[in-house]
């Protein structure tokens, strides 16, 4: 399962990230924000209109907004 499919309010652990699917700069930014193998994330909000993009993730005590495309590159294991 990938992170974009996780329902709001649920937590999961990132088990693998397909870095090759992301632009290098964005990949580094995501890593710098702690979105990496082993991180525990919770989907706290999803965007407004039809496509439910972007997604607000709780990582530790921080909230990070990402696009669904980024979340789709992250394999998770629901907790």
């Amino acid at each position: 399962m990938t992170l974009d499919l996780l329902p709001p309010g649920q937590s999961a652990r990132i088990v693998a990230v397909h870095w090759d699917r992301l632009v290098d700069e964005e990949a580094r930014r995501l890593r710098a924000l702690g979105l990496d193998d082993g991180a525990r994330v919770t989907v706290s909000h999803r965007g407004v209109f039809g496509t439910r993009d972007p997604i607000a993730l709780a990582v530790g005590r921080m909230k990070v907004a990402v696009r669904r495309a980024h979340a789709a590159a992250m394999e998770i294991e629901p907790l």
């Binding site: 930014r29 407004v48 209109f49 993009d53 530790g60 907004a65 696009r67």
Partner: protein, 615 residues
């Protein structure tokens, strides 16, 4: 005499660095660019407990010394003393968000490992406590090996202890290996350090999640955002009115005083018709800028701006941009210059370029005097039902025209000149907090000062030059001063070009000096008609600008003039800042060309449509 020592503030974005910088240095700050790059350099002065003055710089927020943006590259180079023309800081203050230790310690370790004299400011401890997080600075001190001082920058707490610690911070042995440590190893270490520093923790951060539940709600969120923006724009007009009136009266009184004090002649005319009529009509506009920036700064400082970006991301993605562009574009409603400067936070270069190119289409406050004067003169003060005024409706339509134009241009650009993979949107959303009034005032003062300096220099010079061009050579008996003047003849040439879109010679004349700044169009119309009226009878002289316009223009002409200003890139400062931000003349010239083309088409279409409709 030894040189002044330098201290730099470093830390992750949203660690509260700027508030700490304000708290430590006060309002006297020097803001400029780092040479060769478009990254802001903020410096100020601080006095150590020993009485020694030191220079304090606020380095751009970074996640790592391995840069992913121009901002981070500057920070990494300056800290290491590798930035040409910038001496390395003698000591560093690493700013950490107390409730985000695990994250912020990753970068902090990297900085501390450099071995420079370093102190850690454990900032926003109050917010951490509010979240149920109790920390032990001593434990953190032990694991980091440098002094840790708890601070609350916005409430000015912990500052004395911090300056004392900086004064006594010493060089340490660089920890040779740490730069070779991988990010993963640093993160593991950060996790362990954060754990060791936490005395007690309850996992709830109630206030923010409650706020986010409402403010980021899929339905309520956007409604609240638009309601808020509506209030902001209402306030810009309603709250400003008494101040604008007072400023106008002040300029009027000053003008009368000058008339009474000086003998009649060219010198007096220069002051009243040129300087006071021109600069005065622009300065009256300061209250609106201050009010708009007050809201923008408050939204930023409270953490709401990032939520607005989140809510708007989907819509911006529709035209190939991201939520990050929302903040610069919103600022452009005040003025495109800070808006274009705010695009520095957009990491994707194509996104950033597109945002810069469409920013001048947002109706900036400099257009307001033009819109206000023309609307007041030509659009009847009546309601169209439900208490909606026709004048307000026209103004609203002008704003919408600008936004729609911007959207279409962005769509076209993203498919042609700035083509590329759709950009992403990755953004940390800071914690909510009550903004500090003093920080807001410092920000407002900086904005107001930029505006006044512009009014005092560019606009002053342009007004005086225009007055000279309008007043010389002097008209003979029976000739009109405007017709004979140099400016009148120049405008005669331009008038041939703008005649097809319904503009007369006076309008062409107003466009020339308005190249400096749009609002000058109003002052130059005022100056032109003041000079023209002085040849005419007393009655014409006493007429207000609005009545002058009504007597000399038709309604289709006025509408075409409005349509022109929705698009026309008539602002020298915007062009200059675009050149600076894009590092060359290519894009500012492109911007000029495409916006003038749009303005010409829009004004022409409006004029002929209005004539055809029999207006």
């Amino acid at each position: 005499m030894s040189r002044q020592r330098k201290i730099a503030l470093v830390g992750n974005p949203n660690a509260g660095k700027s508030a700490l910088f304000n708290a430590l240095t006060g309002a006297r700050q020097k803001i400029a660019n780092y040479p060769g790059v478009t990254v802001e350099r903020k410096a100020g002065r601080m006095v150590l407990p020993s009485g020694e003055p030191v220079e304090m710089t606020d380095l751009p927020g970074s996640y790592s010394l391995d840069p992913t943006s121009p901002d981070e590259a500057v920070t990494a180079k300056v800290i290491r003393g590798e930035f040409a023309g910038e001496s390395a800081p003698d000591a560093l203050i690493v700013v950490l968000d107390a409730s985000n230790l695990e994250q912020h310690l990753v970068f902090a370790q990297e900085v501390i490992a450099l071995g420079k004299p370093t102190v850690v400011a454990l900032n926003m401890v109050d917010l951490a406590e509010r979240d149920g997080l109790v920390l032990d600075p001593a434990a953190l001190e032990q694991s980091l090996g440098v002094k840790v001082v708890p601070t609350v920058a916005v409430r000015r707490r912990g500052l004395a202890e911090l300056t004392e610690a900086v004064a006594s911070a010493e060089l340490r042995e660089p920890v040779g290996r740490i730069n070779d440590l991988s990010l993963v190893e640093r993160r593991v270490a950060a996790h362990a350090m954060a754990d060791a520093a936490i005395i007690s923790e309850s996992r709830q951060h109630r206030l923010h999640s409650q706020l986010d539940k409402v403010l980021l709600h899929p339905w309520a969120g956007p409604i609240i955002l638009f309601a808020l923006l509506f209030v902001v724009f209402q306030a810009v007009f309603a709250w400003a009115t008494p101040f604008v009136d007072a400023l106008e009266d002040g300029v009027g009184l000053l003008s009368q005083a000058v008339v009474a004090a000086l003998p009649e002649g060219l010198g007096r005319d220069l002051i009243t018709e040129g300087v006071l009529a021109g600069v005065g009509s622009v300065v009256v506009f300061l209250p609106q800028i201050v009010i708009l920036f007050f809201f923008i700064l408050a939204m930023e400082a409270s953490g709401y701006m990032a939520r607005a970006a989140f809510l708007m991301d989907r819509m911006m993605a529709g035209v190939g941009l991201s939520g990050r562009s929302f903040i610069p574009l919103l600022s452009s409603f005040a003025c495109a210059i800070p808006g274009i400067m705010a695009t520095r936070s957009i990491t994707d270069p194509r996104d950033r370029l597109t945002t810069i190119l469409i920013a001048p289409l947002m109706t900036c406050s400099a257009r307001l005097p033009v819109y206000a004067v023309i609307i007041a003169a030509f659009i009847p003060q009546q309601t169209v039902g439900w208490g909606v005024g026709l004048q307000g409706l026209v103004l609203f339509a002008l704003y919408v025209a600008g936004i729609l134009g911007a959207m279409i241009v962005a769509l076209v650009l993203r498919r042609s000149l700035t083509k590329g993979a759709a950009s992403g949107f990755i953004m940390e959303m800071p914690k909510y907090q009550l903004p500090n009034l003093k920080d807001l005032l410092i920000g407002l003062w900086q904005r107001a000062w930029v505006f006044l300096r512009r009014a005092g220099t560019i606009i002053f010079m342009v007004t005086v030059v225009l007055w000279l061009l309008l007043s010389f050579p002097r008209a003979g008996e029976g000739e009109s001063q405007v017709d004979v003047s140099i400016a009148g003849r120049l405008a005669g040439g331009l008038a041939v070009v703008v005649e097809p879109i319904g503009f007369n010679r006076d309008m062409a004349l107003a466009l020339i000096p308005a190249m400096a700044a749009r609002e000058v169009a109003v002052s130059s119309l005022a100056t032109t008609y003041a000079v023209a009226a002085s040849d005419e009878d007393e009655e014409a002289q006493a007429m207000a600008l609005g009545d002058q316009l009504k007597a000399r223009w038709t309604l289709p002409m006025a509408l075409a003039f409005l349509a022109w200003f929705v698009f026309a890139p008539q602002c020298m400062s915007t062009i200059a800042v675009t050149r600076r931000e894009t590092n060359g003349w290519k894009w500012p010239i492109f911007m000029l060309a495409y916006l003038f083309a749009l303005a010409y088409i829009a004004a022409g279409a409006t004029y002929w449509a209005a004539v055809a409709a029999g207006l």
